[in-house]
């Protein structure tokens, strides 16, 4: 299945890209996606081991299961206001 990942602010700067299409086995969890990305090595190992992640604009835990077409956003600590 294919999902779309988004990277914002410092994460985007660190990775050099704001979005990435990723192919995953069915049933992959958010935590497994983070592991897969980080295991690609530099620069993906600059993502935190347990980042804040939103799936389809809702914050989820690492055990959340992904489905094809999900939009997965990696969210650095926020600084609005």
């Amino acid at each position: 299945m294919q999902v779309r990942t988004l990277f914002f602010a410092g994460y985007r700067d660190a990775l050099g890209t704001g979005s990435l299409e990723v192919d995953l086995p069915e049933g992959t969890t958010v935590g497994e996606l983070v592991l897969r990305l980080r295991s690609r090595g530099a620069p993906f190992d600059r993502l935190p081991a347990v980042p804040a992640v939103a799936v389809n604009r809702t914050l989820v835990r690492g055990d959340a299961r992904l489905v094809s077409g999900d939009e997965i956003a990696f969210l650095p600590p926020v600084a609005g206001g």
Binding site: L6, F8, A9, G10, D13, A52, A54, R57, L59, V60, R61, A73, L75, P76, P77, V78, A79, G80, G81
Partner: protein, 167 residues
């Protein structure tokens, strides 16, 4: 811009300058004795360094949803639908308004509490990031608040020591 009741509470993410008067026009009621406007503005210093401007970035679609949720929560907690909030993104100069919150209610205590609730929740939850551009020409992302997952359906607890909780 009219302040149609159907648009209350009101929340929006914008790219251009914020008009506080237009925001004020979205609140107010014949039964209200207090109208409160909060403006967050860009200051010229941070941690001892001179700042020449800020760049705000948002996860636009999610930020719009979260800002609306915050406005609705403020309205529910306070029993008033007269809450309006706008957050600006993009390049801002010193003195520019980055966030504006207008609230009205029968009595001032409710208005102050609602306004404070909105700005504190923005700082905790809104997926917006701020890059400081310094006078020397370099820039850095401001270290912010870690986002945490709240159990579904449970409003976020107020941090201990928040100054405006009703007594």
């Amino acid at each position: 811009m009219s302040a149609a009741p159907s648009e209350r509470p009101f929340a929006n993410i914008v790219d251009g300058p914020i008009d506080p008067s237009a925001l004020l026009a979205r609140v107010g009621d014949a039964g209200d004795g207090a109208v409160l406007l909060f403006l967050g503005t860009v200051r010229d210093h941070a941690d001892g360094r001179s700042v020449s401007g800020l760049h705000y970035e948002a996860y636009r679609e999610m930020a719009a949803e979260v800002l609306r949720a915050i406005a609705v929560e403020a309205a529910e907690r306070l029993g008033t639908d007269r809450v309006a909030v706008v957050h600006r993104v993009g390049e801002l100069a010193i003195g520019d308004v980055s966030v504006a919150i207008a609230v009205s209610s029968p009595h001032r205590a409710q208005a102050y509490e609602a306004s404070r609730y909105v700005i504190e929740e923005i700082k905790q939850r809104l997926p917006v990031w701020k890059r400081e551009i310094y006078l020397e020409g370099d820039a850095s992302w401001v270290r912010g608040h870690d986002l945490t997952v709240e159990p579904a359906g449970v409003p976020p607890a107020a941090p201990a020591g928040r100054a405006t909780r009703a007594r």
